[in-house]
């Protein structure tokens, strides 16, 4: 039987990745200790949940949603009101249960709106989610009592009796609350991919028509996947509320936010389970750190996204997995030099291009502050020809170098791939 060919469960080994994940979650705040780092780690924690929940739709079910912020956002709003009600002491709702309240809220609205959206698939589905996203965003303006108008709804996460000595006032306690939910949600969403419903979601993604002819109602499969996705999105939204103690409809329910989930899930890699987790980390790094360094961060992000979709549509996760495969066959060492070449040339391109972009931005936006400014430690002057010339020269040298490095890399890479293919053929039983 070929079942015997599968590796037998071997102690803790099957759980190695999960143990590592738990350890990383536990240790991270002790490695990055600044309050900025802690705030970013907290954001990463719930964005991992939201991006993974988005990928139940996109990567696993083939549903391109433009309105995922509806479910995380409504989860946030229900959570903020639940917290305010609980703070008055009317209902006993400890803070640790608030994410579940948000989760059920997300689930409820996913069940409500999903009933309409999941009737269709493909482009029609995408259009309807866009419509519902706009509908809910517009409605938030009509009900200021619930959505708080322009100022949003505020809350205080410290209420009621401390639970096991935890008040959840200090950021570190909030981080661990988020980390716990992140770990459990990730595990549950991974488990979903190993169940009949999870597999049929994949089947619906690949070929909805055929699914109808093997006994499954494709609409029901999509609908159930959508509801589960909404549940986890709601948990993520509630955790965001606990973190910031404010929810603002113009942010939490915006199309921009839905777009962010979509873009970073794709950037991280929708075809692998862990891809969206990478995307969530990058989302925080880009929106918090990169936006500090430069005003043009959205432009840079757009360029990165463009090149990613063109050259590595499987996202960062697929790039990682391709290299892991090469490493498994013991052929990674020879890639180091070509990679170094790519990195060096790539850095030159980035340096040259970003210097030019920053100078153009400076002329457009900050001309009043003088022609000189500093950008990541380098002084640039928009009225000095040398600044322009040197930047352009660096960019040009980088581009030429990149082309050479690219060709060298492809040579080595494709030879390694051919060898691996040959080795696989040899291993196959005759």
């Amino acid at each position: 039987m070929s079942t015997a060919a599968r590796p037998a469960p071997n102690g803790l080994r099957p759980y190695a990745a999960w143990i590592a994940f738990a350890v990383v979650l536990a240790v991270l705040p002790h490695v990055f200790r600044s309050s900025l780092a802690l705030s970013m780690l907290t954001q990463m924690g719930y964005l991992v949940i939201i991006c993974l929940s988005y990928n139940i739709l996109l990567g696993q079910g083939g549903m391109l949603s433009f309105g995922h912020a509806v479910y995380s956002g409504l989860g946030s709003f229900i959570a903020v009101h639940a917290m305010n009600v609980a703070a008055k002491g009317q209902v006993p709702l400890p803070l640790v249960t608030i994410p579940l309240i948000g989760g059920f809220a997300g689930m409820f609205f996913a069940a409500l709106f999903g009933y309409v959206t999941t009737k269709k698939s493909g482009t029609t589905f995408a259009m309807i989610t866009l419509g519902i996203g706009e509908l809910v965003a517009a409605m938030s303006g009509m009900f200021p009592g619930f959505f708080g108008g322009e100022g949003g709804v505020t809350t205080n996460r410290v209420y009621g009796k401390p639970l096991l000595g935890l008040t959840f006032g200090p950021q570190i306690q909030v981080y661990y609350l988020v980390a716990t939910y992140c770990f459990v949600s990730t595990a549950l969403m991974f488990a979903l991919t190993k169940t009949p419903l999870g597999r049929m979601l994949n089947a619906v993604r690949d070929n909805p028509e055929r699914v109808e002819f093997i006994g499954y109602n494709t609409q029901r499969v999509r609908y159930l996947g959508f509801i589960i996705s909404g549940f986890f999105a709601g948990i993520g939204g509630a955790l965001a509320t606990i973190n910031f103690e404010i929810v603002n409809a113009s942010d939490a329910l915006s199309a921009l936010r839905s777009g962010g989930y979509l873009l970073f899930t794709v950037l991280g890699g929708a075809t692998f389970f862990f891809g969206p987790m990478i995307g969530a980390v990058l989302l925080v790094l880009a929106s918090v750190l990169l936006s500090e360094v430069t005003k043009a961060w959205l432009l840079y992000f757009g360029l990165v996204f463009l090149f990613m979709v063109m050259y590595a549509p499987g996202g960062i996760a697929s790039l990682v997995m391709m290299n892991v495969r090469v490493a498994k066959f013991g052929r990674f060492a020879r890639l180091l030099r070509p990679y170094a070449g790519l990195l060096l040339a790539g850095l030159l391109v980035v340096a040259g291009a970003s210097a030019l972009i920053e100078m153009i931005y400076h002329i457009q936006l900050n001309a009043g502050t003088g022609s000189q400014f500093r950008f990541v430690g380098v002084s640039l002057d928009t009225e000095n020809h040398m600044s322009w010339l040197v930047s352009a020269a660096v960019l040009a040298v980088g581009l030429v170098g990149l082309e050479f490095a690219r060709r060298a890399f492809i040579r080595v890479w494709s030879r390694a791939q051919e060898e691996i293919e040959a080795e696989i053929k040899q291993r196959e039983p005759a």
Partner: protein
């Protein structure tokens, strides 16, 4: 022969697309365990007939009965749950799933797992054993973990049949199962289809007369949406109406093919 109920019965079936009538009063009664090949010139409505039976389209009028139960107008998945499965002329598989996963998807509903998200696939002993058995049956056990999109064409056709029979339906519709295959592949494939459909009621649409005679107990001739003959192959061949309808077209080809097949 007396049959209390037919496995599949078509009564005065009509299908119109706009003003065009594709299926015009088709009548057919297939006994359990019979193997029927549906032949006919291009545009006779063979594929449309399969689409009506399997629920892809609803008929304009008339009745379709599966084991005596009305199924016309039901959705494909409801018809499938009642025990009718079909394959497709253009390969219709789950490209990004492995061969094994493709088969397991085909198995799940029939074993009652439905939309379960509280059970692990790995623990479903019956589903996994049945999927492994199917792998052996369609002779793709060596490709168990290959993504379906990376299979050769002939292997994909075999997988197409595998998914079709996976749910254990007792009425199986195969739409040109050997389309696009070479002669030697076809011969092997006909053998495979025979093996995996033992004891089932089989309907095939075929152009290749070699396949028709290899697989079918009876032949139904469909011309302009009507069954003009339904009998054992020898009698169909001698039927004057069939010869008339086919004159200078498919039957001529068919007879040439049959003649060359006979040698």
């Amino acid at each position: 022969m007396t049959h209390p109920t037919y496995a599949l019965e078509l009564r005065k079936l009509y299908k119109r697309f706009g003003k065009t009538e594709i299926i015009r009063g088709t009548e057919l009664a297939v006994a359990p365990g019979e193997r029927v090949a549906i032949i006919g010139p291009n545009g006779a409505g063979k594929s449309t007939l399969f689409n009506l039976i399997s629920g892809r389209f609803g008929p304009s009028s008339g009745e379709i009965l599966l084991n005596g139960q009305r199924i016309d107008g039901l959705t494909p998945f409801k018809i499938n749950r009642l025990g009718l499965a079909r394959s497709f002329q253009i390969t219709n598989i789950f490209g990004h799933l492995s061969v094994f996963e493709n088969l397991r998807c085909g198995v799940l509903w029939s074993l009652g797992y439905k939309y379960a998200f509280w059970k692990f696939l790995a623990d479903l002993k019956d589903a996994n054993e049945r999927s492994e058995a199917l792998l052996q049956m369609i002779k793709l056990d060596r490709k168990r973990d290959t993504l379906a999109m990376n299979l050769t064409y002939a292997e994909q056709r075999a997988l197409e049949i595998g998914i079709t029979i996976a749910g254990g339906a007792d009425v199986v519709l195969l739409d040109e199962p050997t389309a696009g295959m070479s002669k030697s592949e076809t011969a092997r494939f006909v053998e495979l289809i025979r093996e995996v459909t033992v004891g089932k009621t089989l309907l095939t649409v075929e152009h290749d007369m070699g396949v028709v005679f290899g697989l079918a107990d009876k032949i139904a001739v469909l011309v302009y949406g009507e069954v003009i003959a339904f009998d054992v192959p020898e009698k169909v061949r001698g039927n004057p109406r069939v010869q008339e309808a086919y004159l200078g077209s498919a039957l001529a080809d068919a007879q040439v093919a049959a003649a060359s097949h006979g040698h």
